[in-house]
């Protein structure tokens, strides 16, 4: 059995145990998991293409998520609501995501072999910049057209910005009720459409190029593929998908937690994807769907299970955070073992003649 399916099985077991001890009803669980599927699926999908391109997990999808928040906030600051507001949001999100994705891609092309740590740092840096713009910039260098979201001291956006105009705009289309389970069919179709599009992209010529680069950069270059351009496109696409995903996420929640809504979107998405049986080199759409259901079931039941089993809900929360980070750590540890063997061989042949250099930069993750 593959190691990745062991991870899935462990998640299945933990979710089942957690559910058993939590005492949460199946209807509630179903509704919650469906909601989270709609909220998070596109963000997780955003991780697929960079993985296929051999860049590992793109933790900089937080940058895409921030783009979506910039989109919403721009529309709100300009006091545009309704369909026009949504259009402005979409437009600004797309532009912001393409520009930032391009920048991230340029950076990642300089740090081949260290993409993941770089995307983490990019995420932190972008977070600082974003917070600076909205905490300090609004009311100083960005004119405060919308006084409602201004902090009372006259500078900065409030922590919570209401998206009441967009809340449940789309959820209620084609809402089906099976017993007490609410199934927002239209939204599920939208999310599934994204899944199909991503699966389709992976099979186009572009997708083949991406996979070729992901398998071996040198060979891909020898085949005449522009490696840097392909990697750049993969990251831009990922950032744009993340932006769209965050729009779905925010409109579902119905408010923006301006300074924190984008945080952890990378960690939880990555953990969900890995829970679905993906590895750092191969991830498919089915891993996304399965992973979200498993990961979020565990996420929903663990505080209650912690409360019932150990008398402390916080313990369940620590446990689920540990699972989120631990899954990624585990994937890294197992991924590297296989690589290590090859790395050592390369090292023997190549580096004997190169003093003062570490093991050569390896093409893939």
């Amino acid at each position: 059995m593959k190691r990745s399916s062991v991870v899935t099985l462990v998640f299945l077991l933990l979710s089942a145990l957690g559910w058993y001890y939590s005492g949460i009803g199946p209807v509630f669980l179903c509704n919650e998991v469906l909601t989270r599927f709609i909220r998070d699926a596109v963000l997780v999908l955003a991780l697929l293409i960079p993985i296929a391109a051999g860049m590992g997990i793109n933790f900089a999808i937080t940058v895409g998520a921030m783009s979506a928040q910039v989109g919403f906030l721009t529309a709100i600051i300009m006091n545009i609501w309704g369909l026009a507001g949504l259009s402005v949001t979409l437009l600004v999100t797309l532009v912001a995501a393409i520009v930032t994705g391009w920048l991230v891609g340029l950076i990642l092309n300089r740090v081949k072999g260290k993409e993941m740590i770089t995307t983490i740092i990019i995420g932190f840096l972008a977070n600082g910049l974003y917070q600076f713009v909205y905490l300090v910039g609004y009311g100083t260098f960005i004119p405060a057209f919308n006084q409602e979201i201004l902090l009372s001291r006259g500078i900065g956006v409030r922590n919570m910005v209401d998206l009441a105009g967009y809340r449940n705009l789309m959820e209620n289309i084609w809402m089906i009720e099976v017993g007490d389970i609410h199934i927002p069919l239209f939204m599920i179709m939208v999310v599934l459409l994204f899944c199909v599009v991503v699966a389709y992209i992976m099979n186009t010529r572009f997708g083949q190029r991406v996979r070729a680069v992901g398998q071996d950069m040198e060979k891909a270059a020898a085949l005449g593929i522009d490696v840097n351009k392909t990697r750049l496109q993969a990251i831009i696409l990922s950032t744009v998908l993340a932006g769209l995903g965050q729009i779905l996420y925010l409109q579902n929640i119905g408010m923006i937690n301006v300074y924190t809504a984008h945080m952890n979107s990378d960690i939880f998405s990555a953990a969900a994807l890995l829970a679905g049986g993906a590895t750092l080199k191969e991830a498919r759409v089915r891993n996304v769907i399965l992973g979200i259901f498993l990961f979020h079931t565990l996420f929903i039941v663990s505080p209650q299970a912690g409360q019932n089993l150990l008398g402390n809900a916080a313990l369940g929360e620590y446990f689920r955070s540990f699972v989120a980070y631990g899954t990624i750590a585990l994937a890294l540890v197992f991924n590297e073992t296989s690589q290590n063997i090859r790395g050592n061989k390369l090292c023997r042949i190549r580096n004997l003649f190169r003093k003062n250099k570490g093991p050569g930069v390896e093409p893939s993750i």
Binding site: G56, I107, R110, V111, K114, M116, I117, T118, I120, I121, I122, F124, L125, N127, G128, L129, Q131, F132, L135, V136, I155, G156, L310, N312, A314, L315, Y318, F319, S321, F322, Y325, G326, I328, A329, L332, V333, E336, T337, Q339, N340, G343, N344, C347, R348, N351, L352, K355, N356, K357, G358, P359, E362
Partner: protein, 342 residues
């Protein structure tokens, strides 16, 4: 010259801030005093990165593992109400013991992921924080000063070290020169660790560490046991970092548990990169210099932001500077080679 851009930038920034601070009427003696204290407060944590850098394991982003060891050591010391400078040294001893155990496990993980230690370290550290959070919530400590007042069960997130060993090292042999207060005990403790680290690399095991960091293939041919050498370097790093958090906590006056150490690796990493480390072989002097520059930015930006702008700005700027330096180092690492030795 090109490769010293961050350093030049920070020095210019510092000089500008110094002038503005004087202009804004902030007492300079206090600023110098603060920057000395902060140098040592964070400096030991920065020094702890050196053995791992020199063995070729990259920057230790898994610092939370070592920090947890230090916190556990201190928690045991506080539980038995050890106080004063002796209590502090007892806490250091306990921390070092815990760090050996944690370091062994951490080395076991990192030895499986050679060449990818940094990213694995990030997530090993993050996930370990939550293991420890779980532990803090159920740990069988008995000193009521550490536990939640209601229920008497589970550790508090912030434990005041006032009655135990807060400031014990800060106030050891402190010396007044005019308005400036020089924490001589603290500085000598810092210097002692620096010198010990410097001497370590003169010994047999130290040269083995350097050899492995320089070229693993040569080291293997020379008959050095790579895994063992790496483990030793990682354990030494863990021990020093555990001592580092003890120094930090006694200076800060509080023991911060649960999620508090989550992001602590990043300022330390940017400090050592600012000192001119290229992510490989690093000298003690570089760590000293980097910490001093980095922490001075902290010291000067705080009161300035309060006086001139908004209080949040300084914190945001610190995060941006610290991550900006790391990103810069990642981007231009290729241009630097480990052959340059300062």
């Amino acid at each position: 010259m090109n490769k010293y851009i961050p350093q030049i930038f920070i020095v210019i920034f510092l000089v500008l801030m110094m002038f503005t601070a004087v202009w804004a009427g902030i007492p300079w003696a206090g600023l110098i005093n603060d920057s000395l204290v902060r140098l040592v407060m964070n400096g030991v944590l920065v020094l702890s990165l050196i053995p791992m850098l020199n063995v070729g394991a990259g920057i230790n982003y898994g610092l939370p593992v070592a920090i947890s060891a230090g916190l556990l050591g201190m928690a045991i010391a506080v539980n038995y109400q050890l106080s004063g400078i002796l209590g502090f040294f007892a806490a250091i001893m306990l921390s070092a013991l815990v760090a050996i155990v944690f370091g062994l496990g951490y080395a076991g993980i990192l030895n499986r992921v050679r060449g990818r230690e940094e990213i694995t370290g990030v997530f090993a550290g993050f996930s370990f924080i939550y293991v420890m959070s779980f532990f803090w919530a159920v740990a069988p400590f008995t000193n009521p000063g550490m536990l939640w007042p209601i229920g008497g069960y589970g550790m508090r997130p912030t434990i005041g070290l006032g009655p135990y060993f807060a400031k014990s090292l800060n106030e050891l042999w402190s010396l007044h020169i005019g308005d400036v207060l020089i924490p001589l005990g603290m500085l000598s403790f810092f210097a002692l660790i620096g010198v010990m680290l410097y001497l370590l690399f003169k010994t047999r095991i130290g040269s083995a560490i350097l050899a492995v960091g320089e070229n693993e293939c040569f080291a293997r041919l020379a008959g050095i046991n790579i895994s063992r050498t790496r483990s030793i370097a990682i354990i030494i790093s863990t021990i020093i970092a555990a001592i580092g958090i003890c120094v930090y906590a006694q200076s800060y006056g509080f023991l911060e548990l649960y999620e508090a150490p989550l992001m602590m690796a990043f300022p330390a990493a940017s400090a050592i990169l600012l000192g001119g480390s290229s992510g490989r072989r690093t000298t003690v002097l570089q760590a000293f210099l980097g910490t001093f520059l980095f922490q001075s930015v902290y010291v000067y930006s705080g009161p300035l932001a309060n006086a001139l702008l908004l209080p949040e700005v300084s914190e945001i700027f610190r995060v941006m500077i610290s991550n900006g330096i790391i990103l810069y180092a990642l981007l231009f690492e290729g241009g630097r080679t480990s052959s340059e030795k300062v």
